[in-house]
């Protein structure tokens, strides 16, 4: 960021523990999302469709990601976490807010200018089956971003680079001429990762990169992502519904509920000192693979389902399921402010 005063020594991989960051010096921020909104219009049926309502998929989200760190974005289906990822990449024309990437607000860029930034922001998708073109070889899938961004270079150079990328993600270079159907799910995900690395990005948005994989394969991919991060000093926005996986890979975790971020904390704080009642419920709902630990855990079972984002509850969106919501109307009328409670910990709740 242009306003960023921190010097290079304070950057990157430093673990986010202790975090004595004063609010005005958040460190070396690469991505700064402010009040991001993404509404999808709903039209009436009929000959002349009318705009009747909005699905407020993302409704005022604030967070930032420091260079070289992993921010986890966790939430249940329909909470808007995928939409956040796509909005950052400007896949949609966002409804409001800012997406500041390395000092530039991407929402203000023209399509042509955005193309230049796309190289630096890459994405890894959930479904390794539908995210690879079945009619392209692994090599051409991985090489395509380089060709598009004019980084292909000489013929031999291009080939070497594709082979190197295959090796980097743990595949054999001779597999370059194979088609996606010849690979297993885990291998396909490796191809997707190689493709995102091809243009040497700064930020990779990983949208549920392991949820379609079996547990033993999941671990391989998670470790690969961690190794690549160290090697290439990558910054990740890691979007997933599995809190154990998110906490494992992230330095800090943002919890989303119904279009809003309700809490952001370091991985240690989140587990030891969760503040938002939704975060607490979400954590208690995740079983730990250890019966002796499980026997002693408190279980908070939330009642009911997540409300529709078409008609989100008034006030705090969680108040309809919240075990500690107050009756006097505060929770049901007033939207709680997302505030800094110190120690790199943010929360939006009236009761905290």
């Amino acid at each position: 960021m242009s306003t960023d005063s921190s010097t290079t020594e304070a950057t990157t991989t430093a673990p986010q523990e202790a975090s004595e960051t004063p609010p005005d010096a958040r460190g070396d921020v690469l991505l700064d999302v402010k009040d991001l909104k993404m509404y999808f219009p709903v039209s009436s049926r009929g000959i002349i469709p009318r705009h009747v309502a909005d699905v407020k998929a993302v409704d005022g989200v604030d967070f930032f990601v420091r260079r070289g760190e992993t921010l986890g974005l966790v939430g249940e289906s329909g909470c808007g976490k995928t939409t956040v990822g796509r909005s950052i990449l400007q896949v949609y024309k966002t409804t409001g807010g800012e997406v500041n990437f390395d000092g530039t607000d991407l929402t203000k860029l023209k399509a042509k200018e955005m193309r230049r930034y796309r190289r630096r922001l890459q994405m890894i998708f959930q479904d390794p089956y539908s995210s690879l073109n079945p009619r392209m070889t692994a090599g051409s899938i991985i090489g395509e971003p380089m060709r598009i961004h004019g980084m292909a270079g000489e013929r031999g150079e291009y080939r070497d680079r594709v082979e190197e990328l295959l090796r980097v993600v743990g595949l054999n270079p001779y597999m370059r001429d194979r088609y996606p159907h010849e690979f297993s799910g885990g291998q396909r995900q490796r191809i997707g990762i190689a493709r995102s690395l091809a243009v040497r990005p700064d930020l990779i948005i990983c949208d549920e990169p392991v949820s379609a994989l079996d547990v033993s394969i999941q671990a391989q991919i998670i470790n690969l992502l961690q190794e690549l991060q160290e090697e290439y000093n990558l910054t990740y926005l890691f979007i997933a519904h599995d809190l154990s996986v998110v906490r494992h890979i992230s330095d800090r975790v943002a919890v989303m509920y119904l279009g809003k971020v309700v809490e952001i904390a370091t991985r240690e704080e989140l587990y030891e000192n969760p503040l938002h009642p939704y975060t607490k419920a979400l954590m208690s709902a995740v079983p730990i693979p250890d019966p002796s630990v499980e026997r002693q855990r408190e279980r908070i079972v939330l009642q009911g389902d997540v409300p529709s984002p078409l008609r989100p509850p008034s006030g705090c969106r969680f108040h309809t399921r919240c075990p500690i919501a107050i009756e006097d109307g505060l929770c049901s009328e007033e939207d709680p402010e997302f505030r800094d409670v110190g120690g790199d910990h943010w929360v939006a709740c009236h009761r905290v």
Binding site: Q218, R247, I249, Y271, S284, I288, E294, V301, D305, V306
Partner: protein
């Protein structure tokens, strides 16, 4: 809960079950000699990755293996001492859905979209319990209330699409329990659901297990779910049970390299510091082309020469009452175990 000392009497005994699928590319040995016993009131967890044969075992128990291409080649499934595999179609129809019942992973595809929930719930009541229409409708309403659908009787005329995912799974559970089954098989009952809804459904299954004494088999790939709810665990790999025992014992003292690997490859919510997982390298074997010897050999850190030639028999682990595994190696004495311990 976990590791209940006094078990009820055996209610379902599976003995040396072998199920195969004859496909153009060869013979898929989906279930290859599986034996286990479920006792009254017990929750048994069956864990393994996709293609390990855990669902096919369940479908074999229910007599739902389609021929062609599938066939149960061998084994017995004794329900209260009677072999259900030897039953003719008519007898099986009486047992299935009544004494043995099953809930599936996908509540949307397992419910009929063009019939009301009420129609689908009352069907088995009328068929199995000989209830009249009015009685069945009343009971269906009660069942929906029991599984936590508020004002259940007023929702009997609704169609599946009018329910959310979690609610549909509740309807499935209500159907599964409608005839007071002796054994309920839940095949990945919460995989398609969000975690907070998963917690609701699993708490419900556990409550019903405790209140009604229904024995439950939970089939899942989620080691956490098993740790929280199961009394007994069977770990499956390539069509066989490779380790089994009381849940607490399996998690505390895993003795098969695959179980050890599985436990080290999942991130735990409570892990203290940022660490690396220990993945199981490679991929599960092709069930139509299983190697000789132990099927896990190619991915096993501990493998020795003998593993390539002979399949290890299931044996009791020294110093335990009922913890079994199939492996030639004593993992506790091997230096390779450090990889897992140091994590």
């Amino acid at each position: 809960m976990a590791n209940s000392p006094s078990k009820g009497k055996p209610i379902l005994e599976i003995k040396d079950l072998v199920t195969r699928f004859y496909i153009p590319d060869g013979i898929v040995k989906a279930v290859d000699g599986v034996s286990y016993t479920i006792h009254e009131g017990e929750i048994v967890g069956v864990v393994g990755e996709s293609g390990c044969g855990k669902s096919v075992t369940a479908l074999s128990i229910m007599g739902l293996i389609p021929w062609p291409p599938g066939v149960i080649e061998q084994g017995e499934v004794l329900l209260d001492g009677v072999d259900v595999l030897k039953m003719d179609t008519e007898e099986m129809l009486r047992v299935r859905g009544a004494e043995l019942s099953m809930i599936f992973q996908e509540p949307m595809t397992s419910l009929n979209p063009v019939l009301t929930i009420g129609r689908q719930l009352t069907e088995s009541l009328e068929v199995h319990l000989d209830m009249d229409r009015a009685g069945a409708v009343a009971r269906a309403g009660e069942l929906l209330e029991m599984v936590g659908i508020p004002d259940g009787s007023s929702r009997l005329d609704d169609y599946p699409h009018q329910f959310s995912g979690g609610m549909r799974q509740r309807v499935m559970i209500a159907m599964g329990l409608s005839c007071n089954p002796k054994v309920l098989i839940a095949d990945e009952p919460t995989t398609a659901l969000d975690v907070t809804i998963q917690a609701q459904i699993l708490e419900l299954i556990q409550r019903l297990n405790q209140e009604l004494g229904t024995a439950v088999i939970i089939i899942t790939h989620n080691l956490g779910v098993v740790a929280r709810y199961a009394d007994w665990v069977n770990v499956m790999y390539a069509g066989r049970i490779i380790e089994s025992g009381p849940a607490a014992e399996i998690y505390e003292n895993p003795q098969h390299p695959y179980t050890l690997g599985l436990l080290s490859s999942v991130p735990r919510l409570d892990e203290p510091k940022k660490s690396k997982l220990v993945p199981i390298e490679g991929m599960p074997p092709d069930l139509s082309d299983l190697p000789q010897g132990c099927a896990f050999r190619a991915r096993c850190r501990f493998a020795i020469e003998k593993c390539a030639t002979e399949y290890p028999p299931s044996e009791l682990i020294d110093g335990t009452d009922d913890h079994h595994r199939s492996c030639w190696i004593n993992v506790d004495e091997s230096a390779e175990k450090d990889v897992y311990v140091n994590r």
